[in-house]
Symmetry: C2
Subunit: 199 residues, 2 copies
């Protein structure tokens, strides 16, 4: 093809490197940049560089932050004796959106998955153990995902931590609020029956 706009192709390539963005979507997005004022591309470019350069892991809880210690770890009004252990920084945000949790977090950055080469030493478990050794933490809430790997990771950490006399809890399983029993899978329904509460 002799019609080839190099900077446009380069932009399409960059967009198509994003997860879930195929060739067609990348084209559509790249064209939309050309249709916007110059200012938009500049702001976008700055936001990309800023986010990548300024955001790193909180040195205490390993969540994302642009500060040295994240706003949650740094907040004296939060209960620092309860630590919620999650797989991913996005999970911190999901739990924060509930506005129901007032403890702090610890982000593992993955789950144990020997098939994918993820052994416990590749996760932020050392950092968690170091925090626990301070003696200020009474409860660990295991909030890894309800998958095989998430469960395995939760029980691995629980085995490490229980001898230290720290209470370890796990998020409740059950039917999702607003869900429909008819469409719930049998495992969820079974767990939901098991964990039934008196009303």
């Amino acid at each position: 093809m002799n019609y080839n706009i190099v900077p446009l192709n380069e932009l399409i390539n960059q967009f198509s490197r994003l997860p879930g963005v195929g060739k067609k979507t990348a084209q559509r997005l790249a064209f939309s940049i050309l249709e916007q004022p110059n200012e938009f591309a500049k702001q976008f470019a700055n936001a990309l560089i800023d986010a990548r350069e300024k955001i790193h892991f909180c040195k205490t809880c390993q969540a994302l932050t642009d500060l040295e210690v994240c706003q949650i770890c740094d907040n004296p009004q939060r209960d620092h004796s309860v630590v919620c252990v999650v797989e991913d920084p996005k999970d911190v945000m999901a739990i924060e959106r509930t506005r129901e949790y007032n403890g702090v977090y610890h982000v593992l950055h993955g789950v144990i998955s020997p098939l994918d080469g993820v052994t416990p030493d590749k996760l932020k478990i050392k950092e968690l153990m170091a925090r626990l050794s301070s003696g200020e933490i009474n409860e660990l809430i295991m909030a890894t995902n309800p998958t095989v790997e998430g469960e395995a990771t939760a029980s691995y950490i629980s085995r490490l931590v229980k001898p230290m006399g720290i209470k370890v809890t796990r998020l409740a399983y059950g039917i999702p609020v607003g869900g429909d029993l008819e469409y719930a899978d049998e495992f969820t329904l079974a767990r939901s029956l098991e964990g039934r509460n008196e009303i």
Copy 2:
């Protein structure tokens, strides 16, 4: 919420300004940037700025190009006596992908749509008329989209151009290749019957 990462929110906002990208997708894309090496964000940022700054309209055909005159208008091997009139720069690329067309293009950058305030003077029709006045052009292929506005624009231009003795043609309507008669709408099928060819 007291957990607020300013550079991350800014990046999410920028992504969610793209067409078809909602809040959830924007979050997913922003996080994917953080998971990539620094280099990726830089390359992406450069591609954005480069594309926006270097790409403009070809001064002849109004298609996108990073040169003064696009590679198609600049190619002496193409037939400059046939001009294909399209709505959008993306249409040029679509027709080029067929590898069947050897003429040149003219991009209108829209279609006449009085309800949206798009009157003929807002399109690149003046520029088209200026090209036609050179006398080198024998045929205009109207390749606007098969919509009400596309049709209206095609017949508007055709009325302007026919008195100049230039042949005006329209893309053939019919069933799409690989399509299924059962699912073709009645208008397409009717046009397909009308335009039937001997085999």
